[in-house]
Symmetry: C2
Subunit: 248 residues, 2 copies
DNA sequence: CGGGGGGTTGATCTCCTTCAATCAACGTGG
DNA sequence: CCACGTTGATTGAAGGAGATCAACCCCCCG
């Protein structure tokens, strides 16, 4: 039911849009051929749950297109997002067989999945995969630690500004624009998802977005379309050093 | 000045107390010999800063004994702890040359350091190191994500209970005791460090610890010596599932 | 037309922060 | 040996940032 092969999906690794950033980025052509044998594509619709926390994981994989979230939930329903998965990001942990988090597609999503056991054995033979995975994991750890500062010490306004600047920055690098001049992008998350990301309620998210708009830090068209007239200003609001940015 | 070789330090990798858990855990004896050539020990006193964020990093290394913290600071002084480094934990990121966080010794500390460039070249030749480092980094990422839930969604009381249960659990595994019966340990952190860990003020930390004591969840002798009569009760207070625990 | 999902805004409440006083333990120098 | 300063911790009173509860809007879709 969930697993439907689809024509819109890249047929060949050589033409894969995430080829140069994903876990397979360092692989040689023969290694790609090996991967090809254990890989398959899966499509999910916006809102669908990809994996439930605690479920058996028989695959790992990469996000090819779309956005997914990693969330934890307490018994009483409080939920915290702990990861935002963008194209090229890796899902699953080699060596673990049950999922630790919920993975939910927030937009329509295509994943390139590898059967877990073959992937693990392949990883132990080909250092290129493990090397790249280490690099990606270290990056994720850095991002998680940055986020711990946001969650633990920033005000609601700073949290919103931080999230907006992160999305803006990623969007700028994705579209290869500089950080000069006004930035324009669409929010990929609902107010509720933003709240789960930031450890806030959706009402507070809404209020703070309105406040930033009222103060001219951002401009809004509709609910999702954002313009940042002055990125430096936004970074100030985020409590970050306005010049260097987060990663020095 | 900071670098004083010391007799109390393990002279041989074979006798090293963290040998089986550190980044070198998987190394063969010839690999250990190689490591031996680029390694040196450093001692720090409680309170000393090991590395300043932004500083040039010319080494990476493992905590041999003692405890250190990883913290981030905003310009106005707000600080958030983003890692608690225990014996066998790894410090530094191969591939990055300036430190991203402050590392501070909270107790007297011994580190086994490797010169960074030789370590990096060695890592690219010996998969055993990269494999182990990947495993350790994935564990840290899990811990960071667990902590994001604590920071974002838990109440002050739950935060304290969470921290206590984490310390208790680690202490129990360290001393190879079961989780049955009362647990006894010393807090390795000041109230202020606990506050920085939990995204609270030290006053709130103090109040909540008093409250947990008053309610019989914990017992205190002095400021640091803690007894947990009923671990299940503490886990309930932490908002965790009382049976399975954090990692299912 | 009705209904539902996503979003905004208002009023009130509460948990945590802030500011401040106090205390115990400890070391140090007169 | 005692006065003193320091550091870590506790406790109290007051205030505020964000949560909670609730009403309402907009827009799309069946």
């Amino acid at each position: 039911m969930l697993n439907e092969r689809n024509l819109a999906v890249p047929p060949e690794c050589a033409e894969c849009p995430i080829r140069h950033r994903a876990v397979c980025a360092r692989c040689e052509s023969d290694e790609l051929e090996q991967l090809d044998e254990i890989k398959y594509y899966r499509k999910f619709e916006a809102g669908q749950t990809v994996i439930w926390s605690g479920d058996q994981m028989d695959f790992v994989g990469s996000v090819v297109s779309g956005i997914a979230t990693l969330t934890q939930t307490m018994e009483d329903g409080r939920t915290q997002m702990v990861g935002l998965l963008l194209p090229s990001d890796f899902v699953g942990r080699p060596g673990r067989n049950s999922a630790a988090y919920n993975v939910v597609a927030t937009t329509d999503l295509v994943m390139c999945c590898f059967r877990k056991t073959p992937f693990e054995t392949m990883m132990s033979h080909t250092p290129h995969i493990a090397q790249r995975l280490l690099e990606m994991t270290l990056d994720e750890l850095d991002a998680a630690r940055e986020w711990m500062l946001v969650l633990g010490r920033k005000t609601a306004r700073e949290k919103i500004a931080s999230l907006l600047s992160i999305i803006a920055r990623r969007d700028a690098t994705l579209h290869l624009r500089g950080v000069e001049g006004p930035l324009v992008f669409d929010l990929p998350l609902t107010r509720e998802a933003m709240a789960d990301y930031l450890g806030l309620t959706l009402e507070t998210v809404s209020r703070q977005i309105s406040a930033l708009k009222r103060d001219g830090v951002i401009q809004l068209e509709g609910k999702r379309h954002v313009t940042i007239p002055d990125m430096g200003r936004l970074l100030e609001e985020a409590g970050d050093d306005a010049d260097g940015g987060v990663f020095v």
